[in-house]
């Protein structure tokens, strides 16, 4: 039974996939079964983590840690099967061109299926998931609000019937702070910081959620380290250090607590995951 769902988001390129993997790994060290899921049609983790396979059905990634790919279509299929129950009808349903195109155009249906899957444990709906917590490498900031808004919006459009009931309960658990924890990953750069502040505020005001915020890839350099360097080098590094300072000040001014995650300058992904995981210990 899933007790907590962690949704990780951030502007594209901030390192949220690696963060999600590190977060899942940290949680798995407490000896409870954890699932790491990515919301992609086309797996990112397969290549990134050098996995032999990744499917909708979870497979073992590390001790106490399984990994799965939640392609929106697969979530929708599972949802349909659970509702329709009859196998032959299900086959007819999912293999029908009408359904296929319906899924392509019906707004938010895929988003709904993903969140339906995520909240299936507390809603006691759908197949049982034997995990204590789930970490989802979710959409980047641009699409993230649309994802969270899908259940509410669909409930407004179709308040009655089976779909009306489903959307209402999904929306309820997405807004439940004891169940949903959002993690916002940011970078010490102007645009990611601005987007993080905006999203943080919207999530707080619109959903009553309090996201945890991370300032990722901070550099272990101070202005005093730059003495005696070539002017172009100095200027470039000073720019990085200044941006970092601006990021810290901005978050402070907005009253947003941040956890800094220093840049791990290592090309080996597993090493970086282990190191970031160390930094997260005790924080999550």
């Amino acid at each position: 039974m899933v007790k907590k769902a962690h949704l990780v988001t951030g502007k594209g390129g901030v390192g949220k996939s690696l963060f999600s993997a590190a977060l899942a790994y940290t949680l798995s060290l407490e000896n409870k079964p954890i699932l790491l899921a990515e919301m992609n049609d086309d797996s990112f983790y397969r290549d990134f983590l050098n996995l032999s396979k990744i499917n909708y059905k979870p497979s073992r990634y590390k001790n106490n840690l399984d990994i799965a790919q939640w392609a929106p279509n697969d979530c929708l299929k599972e949802y349909a099967l659970h509702l329709l129950k009859i196998e032959s009808l299900y086959k007819l349903f999912v293999e029908n061109p009408v359904t296929k195109s319906l899924i392509e155009i019906a707004p938010g249906l895929k988003d709904l299926a993903l969140l339906g899957k995520l909240t299936s444990s507390p809603r006691r709906h759908g197949p049982l998931m034997n995990y204590e917590q789930i970490v989802v490498d979710a959409y980047s900031t641009g699409h993230f609000l649309a994802l969270l808004r899908a259940p509410g919006a669909l409930h407004e459009a179709v308040p009655f019937g089976p779909m009306g009931e489903q959307t209402k309960s999904i929306d309820y658990f997405i807004r439940d702070q004891n169940f949903t924890q959002i993690h916002l990953v940011s970078l010490p750069e102007e645009l990611p910081v601005t987007e993080t502040v905006e999203l943080y505020t919207q999530l707080k005001n619109e959903f009553g959620l309090k996201p945890l915020v991370y300032l990722n890839k901070t550099w272990p350099l101070e202005m005093t380290d730059l003495q005696g360097l070539h002017s172009e080098t100095k200027e470039s590094l000073a720019h990085i250090i200044t941006n970092q300072e601006i990021a810290r000040t901005t978050f402070k001014k907005e009253n947003i607590e941040i956890k800094e995650l220093p840049y791990i300058f290592n090309t080996d992904v597993e090493t970086v995951i282990a190191e970031v995981s160390q930094l997260l210990k005790g924080h999550v």
Binding site: D47, P97, V98, P107, H143, G161, E232, F265
Partner: protein, 349 residues
């Protein structure tokens, strides 16, 4: 400086998020306009930064960018307004018939145009095609959404066409006739069961909206089919080049490798790879490096390792690929001249 075939009319910049694709598209546009071409740059992300840099508004119009006197060509820029483009397409497709107004009131239509990223992909292609076919410009540069979406973007024509295949739209229109007996005569047993299943899943109200939606868009079919054919022709044209933008970062590297393989497999003309936002001090000479603090030497090695890995991957993938490096742009002094200066610093590897 970058090399484009003289006959190239369209340059599509692809790449994952955070690689600075939007700014790079603008940099290339400015640089090529300085060299003498008449360039239009279209951006999909409603980026305030690009708009500010170029001094344009976010209205979706193609606006002329003021270039300094030394520029030999002209530059136009536009931030794609998806709603406007969609409405324009709809009006064209329905030939101004009354159902366009009715459709705009349909909630499904509103959500489809407003929310679906799929429709953004669709509208971007419409905007691109509109601009290229106007033959006003020597070159149109398109900035695309991040890689997860780049794929959607290229598949947009297929997705839309799937809606009209297998007589689906016709099927839905028939089911709105309010004549259950007539309806069941048209439908075979399988379809009736699917209809029931859909109702179980979604509730009948949703089905009604859906049917209305399909009924309303029936005039689309013809124009849409020709649009899909045109889009495919444009994307695979010999006059269209793809440029992959990436950065020195482990995740970006893996995404770039994946994306480039896919692009080539699908037969698109990938000609160039740009390693963007490279720090100027990476690969400084040894003498300079001697004075560096230890951690900077370590950081430098990390970036060099990434660059070596990246270039060797692309050399194996396709020998004829042009690989470039573009230095990071200092963000606090964005203006057209600064972009032109950065363009001149692009190195061909």
């Amino acid at each position: 400086m970058i090399k484009l075939a003289p006959s190239t009319k369209t340059l599509i910049c692809i790449g994952s998020g955070g690689v600075g694709k939007t700014t790079l598209a603008a940099t290339l546009a400015v640089g090529l306009a300085f060299e003498g071409r008449k360039v239009l740059v279209l951006t999909i992300d409603p980026s305030m930064r690009l708009a500010q840099t170029l001094g344009i508004k976010l209205t979706g119009e193609q606006e002329k960018v003021n270039l300094p006197l030394e520029a030999k060509g002209q530059l136009y820029a536009s931030v794609i307004n998806h709603q406007k483009i969609f409405d324009w397409f709809l009006e064209q497709a329905s030939k101004g018939q009354a159902d366009a107004e009715g459709l705009k009131k349909n909630r499904l239509y509103q959500q489809l145009t407003g929310r679906l990223s799929g429709s953004q992909d669709f509208t971007s292609l419409v905007a691109l095609q509109k601009a290229v076919s106007s033959e006003v410009y020597d070159l149109v540069i398109l900035d695309t959404p991040p890689s997860q979406h780049t794929w959607n973007f290229l598949k947009a024509p297929e997705k839309i066409s799937a809606l009209f295949n297998d007589g689906i739209a016709k099927w839905f229109r028939q089911s709105t006739t309010n004549e259950p007996r007539l309806l069941s005569r048209f439908l075979n047993l399988g379809t009736t069961q699917v209809l029931k299943a859909l109702e179980t899943l979604t509730g009948s109200q949703f089905m009604q909206e859906l049917s209305m939606f399909f009924a309303a868009i029936k005039t689309w079919q013809g124009p849409l089919e020709s649009y899909i054919a045109d889009s495919h022709r444009l994307l695979t044209s010999n006059q269209t080049e793809f440029l992959l933008v990436t950065a020195l970062d482990t995740s970006r590297l893996i995404e770039a490798q994946k994306l480039s393989r896919e692009i080539l497999k699908q037969g698109y003309k990938l000609t160039s790879v740009m390693i963007n936002r490279v720090y100027p001090w990476v690969q400084m000479n040894q003498v300079e490096q001697n004075s560096w603090p230890t951690q900077l030497k370590h950081i430098n090695n990390y970036y060099q390792d990434l660059e070596t890995e990246l270039t060797s991957h692309f050399e194996i993938l396709k020998k004829s690929l042009n690989i470039y490096k573009c230095p990071e742009l200092r963000q606090n002094s964005d203006d057209v001249k600064n972009l032109a200066k950065n363009y001149s610093k692009i190195i061909h590897l």
